[in-house]
């Protein structure tokens, strides 16, 4: 769409001056924080994953920790589980979020109310969400008790195990519950920005409803939705408390396995813990690069 091209930001040059002060200098405080704490932390994690552990007298570097991980069935199972819950959680939240946004967008008076509900959800920490989902879905949870009272199930163990289950259903449920409103708000925001006028224009020019959805609504919603989805995915890959509370010891997600290694009484296992942390970072960065690639494709796509 041409409309999209118009809102694409122009590249910023760091060397451009404003009032004689280089922009790079103005950015220095923020950049220092990023470089020292972010890159510094990551470099230290990489160094430790390679076996640099001066606190127990290990200085030699090597890939032993990574080889250990490759041979550990817990890590292989964990990698698959982590990808599955993160992808499923993100995909379901994105679809539900978009649908909700389209619905809410058409609401008249109820719209304000629906937006407030979605915003209220943003303030609830994941930890609280995970505990709430646990109280709701566990075999002695609210739903199981209601099902028991209604005579659908006999003993608690007859209720399907949705928490601490093999597939991470409880974990996905928490991500969907928490992230759907977030993506709804992002999509709603995108729908609000002149999409209505573009849609009207398209209709005047004879576009059918599905054509308007295909050529007006989706192109407007997709970039912010994709950006939000990358955030959700990166969070889901790196989250600890949700899979710890709603998951099981094996298979567990990567952050839980990393913490199991990190708290091992044998300090040499810290190398493996850091190696998993590096792996998690790599997964998140891959998702980000994929997003940037996708965004580039969308922006270049002819109308």
């Amino acid at each position: 769409m041409t409309g999209l091209r118009a809102v694409r930001p122009r590249p910023v040059r760091l060397t451009r001056r404003r009032g004689g002060v280089p922009v790079a200098l103005l950015l220095a405080p923020a950049l220092t924080v990023v470089v020292v704490f972010f890159l510094g932390g990551i470099s230290y994690a990489v160094a430790q994953s390679l076996g640099y552990q001066p606190f127990i007298g290990r200085h030699e570097l090597g890939l032993a920790a990574y080889r250990d991980l490759a041979g550990d069935p817990a890590v292989r199972a964990s990698f698959i589980l982590t990808l599955r819950v993160a992808l499923l959680g993100t995909a379901i939240a994105a679809v539900l979020g978009t649908s909700l946004a389209l619905l809410v967008h058409r609401l008249g008076r109820g719209r304000r109310w629906a937006i407030t509900m979605a915003q209220a959800n943003l303030a609830v920490p994941h930890l609280v969400g995970a505990l709430a989902i646990g109280l709701l879905l566990s075999q002695t949870g609210l739903i199981a008790r209601l099902a028991h009272a209604a005579g659908f199930v006999g003993a608690p163990r007859d209720f399907p195990g949705l928490i601490s289950d093999q597939y991470g259903i409880g974990i996905v449920a928490e991500y969907v519950w928490k992230e759907t409103p977030f993506l709804t708000l992002l999509a709603l925001n995108a729908l609000g920005r002149g999409t209505a006028q573009l849609g009207d224009a398209a209709r005047v020019l004879g576009a059918r409803p599905w054509q308007r959805l295909r050529h007006v609504t989706i192109p407007a919603v997709l970039p912010p939705l994709a950006a939000g989805s990358v955030l959700v995915f990166a969070f889901a890959v790196g989250s600890y408390e949700v899979p710890y509370l709603l998951g099981r010891p094996y298979p567990a997600t990567l952050p839980v396995v990393a913490y199991q290694y990190h708290t091992d009484v044998d300090l040499t296992y810290r190398a493996e813990a850091m190696a998993i942390a590096v792996l998690i970072t790599a997964l998140s960065v891959t998702a980000l690069l994929a997003f940037l690639g996708l965004l580039g494709r969308i922006a270049r796509r002819p109308a």
Partner: protein
Amino acid sequence: MNHRRCIPALVAVAALGLTACGADPATGARVGSISTAQGWDAVVSAAEGQTVNWYMWGGDPTLNDFVNGYLADRLEPFDITINQVKVSDTAQAIDTMLGERQAGRSTDGSVDLVWVNGENFATGKQADLWACDWAQHLPNAALFDFGDPAVAMDFGVPVDGCEAVWQQANSALVYDSEALDESDVASVTSLIDWAEAHPGRFTYPAPPDFTGSMAVRTLLYDTIGGPDDLTGEFDESAYRDAVPALWDRLNDLEPALWRGGETYPQSQDQVEKMYADGEIDAYFTYGPGAVGDKVAVGVFPDSTREAVLAGGNIANNSFVGIPGNAAHPEAAMVLANLLQDPQTQLALYKAEGTYPGIDLARTDRATRDEFADVPRSPSVLPLERLLADAQPELAGAYVTRIEHDWKSEVLQR
């Protein structure tokens, strides 16, 4: 009281200890600004005005009240303040200490005292994080027999005065007497038979959970006829002889466990919550004394009872340790000494049934009578029963190895 008279003698012993260690600064009895040679009074006066940052497991509200109520009051005359730092896992305290070590913070550390278990103590020793050679110089050290392996060793690691005994942890089986008969809890075999007849009503937290690891060792002791084959330092061939039968037994038990054994609870907290919710009928605990409180407040059913299975119950002492970089080691020592005080031990026993870490035989008659007079919940076993068949812990290397192998042999099967 007996131990009061011992103080001058102890100070003299401390002075000797320092002369012996003085040549070697690595093992010197120097804690913080003063050396133990200056005597206990010097420790007490240096501690004045200090705040002890005490890192401890914070999951027990009764214990937290005890720390911030009783102990805080007892420290007031010393002008010492307690800052209880609650952690969900002692490994977090070790992590903080290790982080400071990595950052080069060798003095003025943020941790002054840690309630530590054997495994984390071993971790700290591996990285040389503890201040050592102080615990035997506390005035209340007279209440211990340092020749007793339970005092001199912590999960097979020599204590070396790097930590002071606080509590005694005796394991027991907690069960609902409406679901299990006394004959069901007579032995490990009868418990397993009951579990197989009632699938889904028993489980244990996945090791390396501290209690889950004990549950596995309880079955190990039963399988190989007690810990005798595995005493002392880790021995690979003894270990390899002992465990195959254990793994077979645990895997055979799996279908009878909660969720058919396809998964295990993540923590002891979760297991106790499941018992409170009526999801399971029995579980192992290291804290049988605290069960009475849970029944009294209505969290656990009135029919809750405890048992020691045939072959005995695993028991250990838990300790408090002082990091080498502690900012307030003197106040930490005063608190460690206070924790061993017979009146403190009595108050803690009354508050939540925590068994005394001190050797009651070394206290005076009046103190022993006071312990005997504490009313006991019908749900809780008497101390004599818990002590009668107490079994020692294995060396830490065995414990760690069992925890690792449990994952591949049982959990991942």
